[in-house]
Symmetry: C2
Subunit: 333 residues, 2 copies
């Protein structure tokens, strides 16, 4: 057990692209839990695109991280000291303790997890927030029907990879969008999508059209920008667009202007922004199905593991640039 | 009874703004109904923004009007000759016979109406397609709750005026957007909206903000463009946007790029394109309520009546520019 805590703080708010200078890494004493709290030694930190929005001082669904505050984020770790009746040392938990080696929790938004069922880090991904995001967004909001075409952006990522696999289980044609041949190959060969369109190659719209010969019934959106505009040209009547994220826009100083809004009207499309934490009633069912799928091998999953908290800023910047492959986590212990 | 029919044909497809040169007015023999058909002498022609989209040869929810074909549109008229068992001479009906003095119908999409309950032309407006559009879009898709703020664009128009009055009946704050002081005054004073923001005056966003101090819960959209972008900056969490039309875009050679898509995500907004003809099951209830509201004076309604079919093209161009006041119809007889 380390003698000191280590934390990544938000040093200054980014203008456009995030750089390592936006962060500050400090050592602090390990905090002591008060009555009703417990101390977690974090094993893994999850890095997720939503964190970029929290670095801004703008209206969002959660408060921004304060300047000098610990970067917000979910971790999986082990309870090492507890003054909370429901948690005891040795428990493995996920908690929003942020980018640090040790964190205090009062039990809010904490899940006890079983590290023997799947590896602990998976509870930050496929059997955690990103997996449930895929599950709720595709199944509840996207409502895919057998034979329909489901397209998902960032298809090799923590959310997108699950979306496509769930779409296949529902009897849909699953088409991914990803950056680069390696990711596209992975999406088709390892994850079992029917096709994947590389948005970094040319003629994106033409290749998207070729991959969606019957148009698009569900578009699971987590990218935005020009890709959204091109997808809108392919939507079928009564298509559904679960709007989960807009990673292409988070570092843009001037947002992309989406031109094909008329496609939403003419095709009577439902576009719905959603945040998985609004759907807590669905988590138990989703998590149970996802855990079972992973344990049985029917859901494939891949991580990029970065070693050491001090490398979290660089890994996060890489995530925003699409340099990771699958779910990005940081190994802390 | 005229000896000849008169028709407005689509002469050529517009590039950008419609001009009178896009139309061709011809005289043709009055057609004779075949078995299962009837002949209607039209009293009024409805002019509606959706007609602009039908002049284009692009994918939409209905087929485009053919070059040389009669411009599509709904009329109210009197059956003058019938070989259809359900319609007899003297019946007043609405039908999609197009921009012409006489039309043949097979009874599809025809409503028999009572010209004594409200004036016949009203069945093209408040007690017809535009009224039901307002009713379905606001109530079914917008789902306004008492105390919420409903904003409607083109508030003095055939649809928008009804939206705001229905919103008031639901206990909402109703805020209109309209072009010019006269329309805004009408929206507040005659229709009873709480406020109306003139999009032709400066500082639109600031004045919209002042008129929506608690943000926007429902935005009934039929304009698009910059107004949509500004409204998106004011939407509340879980807002609903029934997307009914995009009149600002129909004549644009390059569509406006909507930048504030992130507001849909962060506020978990549902934006849903809809076409009232997809909701036929709702028409009887909606029409009954609207007819009752008009007959009892609880729903106010205003028309701009242009005389003569030959003036329909000019009136239509005026409609697209917002020159009309209330529902635009053409008196034919």
């Amino acid at each position: 057990m380390a003698q000191m805590n280590k934390q990544v703080l938000l040093a200054r708010r980014p203008q456009g692209w995030v750089g390592e200078g936006n962060f500050n890494i400090v050592e602090t004493p390990i905090p002591a839990p008060k009555e009703g709290e417990f101390l977690v030694r974090n094993l893994y930190l999850s890095l997720d695109p939503y964190m970029r929005a929290r670095m801004n001082d703008t209206k969002s669904y959660v408060a921004p991280v304060a300047i000098g505050g610990v970067m917000a984020g979910e971790t999986v770790g082990e309870v090492v000291e507890s003054k909370h009746p429901a948690f005891k040392p040795g428990d493995t938990v996920t908690a929003y303790t942020g980018w640090q080696l040790y964190g205090i929790s009062d039990g809010q938004r904490v899940r006890k997890v079983d590290p023997k069922l799947v590896p602990p880090s998976y509870y930050l991904g496929v059997v955690g927030m990103p997996g449930v995001t895929a599950w709720v967004g595709l199944l509840d909001i996207g409502q895919p029907k057998p034979g329909e075409t489901v397209v998902v952006a960032a298809a090799s990522g923590a959310v997108g990879g699950v979306v496509g696999q769930l779409a296949k289980m529902k009897g849909c044609r699953a088409v991914g969008i990803a950056g680069g041949k390696a990711k596209c190959d992975y999406v088709v060969q390892a994850l079992g999508f029917d096709a994947c369109v590389d948005h970094r190659a040319g003629d994106f719209y033409d290749r998207l059209s070729a991959a969606t010969p019957k148009g698009i019934d569900v578009y699971f959106e987590n990218v935005g920008g020009k890709i959204l505009d091109d997808v809108l040209r392919r939507v079928n009547p009564f298509a559904r667009i679960p709007l989960c994220g807009l990673i292409s826009q988070y570092n843009a100083t001037e947002p992309y202007g989406v031109k094909n809004i008329a496609a939403l009207l003419f095709n009577r499309v439902t576009l719905r922004g959603f945040i998985v934490s609004d759907h807590l009633d669905r988590w138990p069912t989703a998590l149970a199905e996802l855990a079972q799928g992973v344990a049985q091998g029917t859901i494939q999953y891949r991580e990029t593991v970065t070693e050491g908290l001090e490398n979290a800023p660089r890994a996060f910047i890489g995530l925003l640039k699409g340099e990771n492959f699958g779910k990005q986590v940081v190994k802390l212990d």
